[in-house]
């Protein structure tokens, strides 16, 4: 009676699981690791399949043993316990047999893992080197050979969009069929960069540089995220890699180079900028770099990120404002922007902040002021 009732309950609950399972089966789902699209992730994927297969076999054996025991050795079926089972030959030697078998399985996994590990950690000559800097909460990609810099911010989308939290304004562009080396670092806290399809993860540590590499085999857009808790925006810093053919990559590279040269020339010229020009430029810089914390309305998040609108710094003397933007506030999420933005960008964003929301200072900060303040 009792057993039947518990069995009934179990069956009901199992049916619920079954229904949920069926609902899932309708959609297009991945049950396995994301399919690899580079040489190195292919190697890792094969290793993953090896360990998964071994794990499955072990689970099947263990489950079968338990089910057989539950079937065969029941008190209710009149099973007589064998009080000397632990004293027969098996009982005396199991402590040797079991570890030897497990050790055999272990070593076969470890040997193939070790060789894959060597290729993940290899430092062969790379065709392209990209420095990846994590900061709260965006990625900055620098192509060290070309002086190109790409700042990659979350693209704001509605939670119903298929690419919600998966898309950025500027992805990392990489060529297929070339060895790419990544140097990872961080400007504030720990971050972790990677995209399971093309490149295994490595952690970004402020003050230290980590290295990993890939060689992408298929063109396409690959998406990862930050994989180390980095504070309030941790869920909101996707890492998107756009892999294109080497020809297209060269085109993109040339275009970026000329844009970068233009921007640098503009920033270092002695031109005196008008307030409106600076505010317009500053708004762009603000949206890219500052809005994640200080918000579009300049009010920040109470208790977490200070407001700029009507603040003592952004509505006070210019020198104090420049100082805070260039050097940041140590020990908080406010980064030192001096090394990250050029004089013109800092001048523009400071001007924008001083003339937006409740701030009406009327200042137009010039690039040369920024240079002097550095």
């Amino acid at each position: 009676m009792l057993e039947r009732r518990t069995a009934c309950l179990a069956a009901t609950l199992l049916a619920v699981v079954g229904c949920l399972g069926a609902a899932v089966a309708h959609a297009d789902y991945e049950y396995n690791l994301t399919p690899p699209a580079s040489t190195i992730t292919q190697e890792i994927f094969d290793l993953h399949m090896l360990t998964t297969t071994i794990a499955t076999i072990i689970m099947v054996i263990v489950t079968a043993m338990i089910i057989y025991a539950l079937y065969a050795f029941r008190h209710s079926q009149g099973a007589i316990p064998d009080q000397d089972f632990h004293n027969n030959w098996f009982g005396r030697w199991a402590w040797v047999l079991v570890p030897v078998i497990v050790l055999g399985i272990d070593l076969s996994i470890a040997s193939s893992a070790s060789s894959t590990l060597s290729s993940v950690e290899s430092h062969d000559k790379a065709d392209v080197t990209v420095k990846v800097t994590g900061s709260q909460w965006k990625w900055t990609y620098e192509y060290l050979d070309d002086g190109i810099k790409v700042v990659s911010n979350l693209k704001k989308l509605e939670p119903t969009d298929p690419l919600y939290l998966r898309d950025v304004d500027n992805p990392l562009v990489l060529p297929t069929g070339k060895r790419v080396r990544f140097l990872l670092t961080s400007s504030d806290v720990l971050h972790n960069w990677g995209g399971a399809e093309v490149v295994p993860k490595k952690i970004s540590i402020p003050g230290y540089i980590n290295e990993t590499w890939t060689n992408i085999t298929k063109e396409g857009v690959y998406r990862g995220q930050c994989y180390e808790n980095c504070g309030a925006g941790h869920a909101f810093m996707p890492a998107v890699i756009s892999a294109v053919s080497p020809d297209k990559f060269e085109q993109w590279r040339a275009q970026q180079k000329s844009q970068a040269a233009q921007a640098a020339a503009e920033a270092s010229s002695d031109k005196v900028w008008g307030k409106d020009e600076l505010v317009a430029k500053g708004q762009e810089v603000y949206t890219k770099n500052c809005m994640a914390c200080h918000q579009a309305n300049g009010k920040g998040l109470p208790g977490v990120f200070p407001a700029l609108s009507g603040s003592k710094i952004a509505d006070g003397p210019v020198a104090g404002h420049l100082e805070r933007v260039i050097h940041g506030k140590p020990g908080t999420a406010m980064a030192a922007w001096g090394p990250q933005l050029n004089d013109l960008e800092i001048a523009a964003v400071v001007t924008f902040e001083r003339n937006s929301w409740d701030n009406h200072t009327g200042d137009a900060v010039q690039p040369k002021d920024v240079k002097a303040a550095r």
Binding site: L9, V24, A94, D106, T160, D188, G207, Y208, A232, G233
Partner: protein, 536 residues
């Protein structure tokens, strides 16, 4: 060992003091054990409520309930409360209750120390609560503790005053568990009844012996690490700041030097409970007692030297990474040996399926599963794909809920008749078992798929593709949480009354073990053994 105990000391004669004094000044191992158990029961619901919030927030994409910082604060404190507030005190409570009775000791070796190590816990819990509310009640309270239980700098340096309370809470919890461990190890070494040799001790006693040693070895390292963090935050040192010549990764090494053995601290007592439950309901002696004891010793020793497998992606040298990988994979040897020994104990036995046994069987099955996903995670290149995804979350919940928590449930049902003198309601116990086990699997099994698809852990919001599995997981989570109300009801019902329990409520309880706990009536008298029992 000393000779026969006579009722010669005056203060052993009278019963417990009345009212609150009985509890506040208690030096009685059973009373302190009871307080430990109730404390952990309370913390189970406290930490469980946080888990319910987490699953509610993750029910669908978008940030619905509270800010990302609050979410990560709950993730942090869910872990701290469950690890330090729930599992460890529950295991310590069982140790307090059962170890003196098993080895035939009149009480713990250091009864006043025992009182102190319990009463530090409520203070620590208060500190933890303060760390949660501090950002809201103090002016300039700063950011909530949004780091996760690993408290990794530099993020933990950005956190407000809540982090200082968390650090103090960890100090208190650390002192409490070190003192409790010293007490338990001393009791086991010095207080055994004549004839109770080490290799005759019930497995639960052995498991706590190794747990105690592990805690004494690693808890100070955590205390040191969080103290260094406190210095970095307030006194201008730079242990963990590259700008001052320090290394943020050092904290990870220190934390996991504690953190990995801590996993075995949580697991071993439950393995010990299994070592009693499985033979009892199989009605035959434990298979491979000696290899289980040595296996636990090996597990504890190996567990101390493989910590860096929690941080494979930090960029260690190839040699160091290989060492940690192979060391970690080797853990499967003692764990495999233990689980197979339990299966062989059931083999050719005569099993009945009371609630503790049901939990025991479920543990063997589900903990094996955690073991094989553990081997998958131990493989470094593959771990670079799984690292910090929900796959890890699924893995360690499979390890810790069946491995530690279900073991404690088995212990609770196994010993409730001894503790209260009443049999629990077997029908409700079985319902509770099926309810928790099934809802646990609905909660955590889909998280493996989420992790493989790349969903990071500790995120408040996720993209649309992860929605369905998260919904299933949340529904399972709510059912799992709800089942614990039944647990509470069963416990209260058993305390209040029920069928009278005999001294030995389980037919097979004393097969193949020298443990003395069943020779006492249920419930046992206030002072267990007035005359030292002799084990032959």
């Amino acid at each position: 060992m000393s000779g026969a105990v006579t009722a010669h000391d005056d203060h052993h004669d009278h019963g417990p003091p009345k009212g609150w004094q009985r509890w506040l000044y208690s030096t009685n191992h059973k009373d302190i054990g009871t307080m430990y158990l109730f404390f952990s029961l309370f913390m189970l619901f406290f930490g469980g409520a946080m888990a319910m919030y987490i699953r509610a927030e993750l029910f669908m994409p978008g940030v619905q309930l509270a800010s990302p910082n609050f979410y990560n604060n709950m993730v942090t404190d869910h872990a701290l409360v469950m690890v330090f507030g729930m599992v460890m005190p529950a295991a310590a409570g069982m140790a307090n209750w059962m170890i003196p009775m098993m080895i035939g000791a009149p009480d713990m070796a250091l009864p006043r120390l025992n009182n102190l190590s319990f009463w530090l816990l409520p203070a620590a819990a208060l500190m933890l609560v303060l760390s949660i509310v501090a950002p809201y009640i103090f002016p300039n309270g700063g950011t909530p503790v949004n780091t996760g239980w690993t408290l990794l700098p530099p993020l933990s340096k950005q956190v407000g005053i809540g982090m200082d309370f968390t650090i103090f809470a960890i100090h208190l919890l650390g002192v409490s568990s070190i003192l409790a461990s010293i007490n338990i190890v001393t009791t086991i070494l010095n207080m055994r009844a004549p004839g109770m040799t080490l290799m005759k001790m019930p497995l639960f006693v052995w498991s706590w012996f190794f747990t105690g040693l592990l805690l004494i070895a690693v808890m100070p390292v955590l205390a040191g690490a969080v103290t260094m963090l406190l210095f970095d935050r307030h006194f201008g040192t730079s242990f963990f700041d590259a700008a001052g010549g320090g290394d943020p990764i050092l904290f990870q090494h220190l934390f996991w030097f504690f953190g990995h053995p801590e996993v075995y601290v949580l697991l071993l007592p439950s393995i010990g409970v299994l070592g009693l439950v499985i033979p009892t309901f199989s009605r035959k002696p434990l298979f491979g007692y000696k290899s289980l004891v040595w296996g636990m010793a090996f597990l504890a020793a190996l567990g101390m030297v493989v910590w860096a497998h929690h941080q494979y992606t930090i960029g260690m040298s190839l040699a160091a990474t290989n060492y940690f990988m192979i060391g970690t994979i080797l853990i499967s040897i003692p764990v495999g040996l233990m689980l197979l020994n339990f299966i062989f104990t059931m083999w050719r036995g005569s099993m009945t399926f009371e609630t503790p046994m049901l939990f025991g069987i479920a543990i063997i099955l589900m903990f094996s599963f955690a073991g094989v996903t553990g081997v998958m995670l131990a493989v470094v290149p593959a771990d670079m794909q799984y690292h910090d995804t929900m796959f890890v979350v699924a893995h360690f919940h499979y390890a810790l809920i069946p491995g530690a928590v279900f073991g404690l449930y088995a212990g609770v049902f196994y010993w409730l008749p001894k503790w209260t003198g009443h049999m629990y309601d077997e029908r409700l116990g079985k319902i509770f078992f099926w309810w928790t086990t099934i809802s646990f699997n609905i909660t955590f099994f889909p998280q493996h798929f989420l992790g493989l698809a790349g969903m990071p852990r500790r995120i408040v919001d996720y993209s649309v593709q992860y929605t369905d599995f998260n919904m299933i997981s949340s529904i399972g989570g709510f059912l799992f949480g709800l089942s614990h109300l039944l647990f509470l009801y069963i416990i209260i019902k058993t305390i209040r009354g029920g069928e009278k329990a005999p001294a030995k409520p389980w037919e097979g309880a004393q097969i193949g073990t020298a443990g003395l706990e069943w020779t006492l009536p249920s419930p046992p008298p206030f002072h267990s053994f007035t005359e030292a029992p002799v084990v032959r």
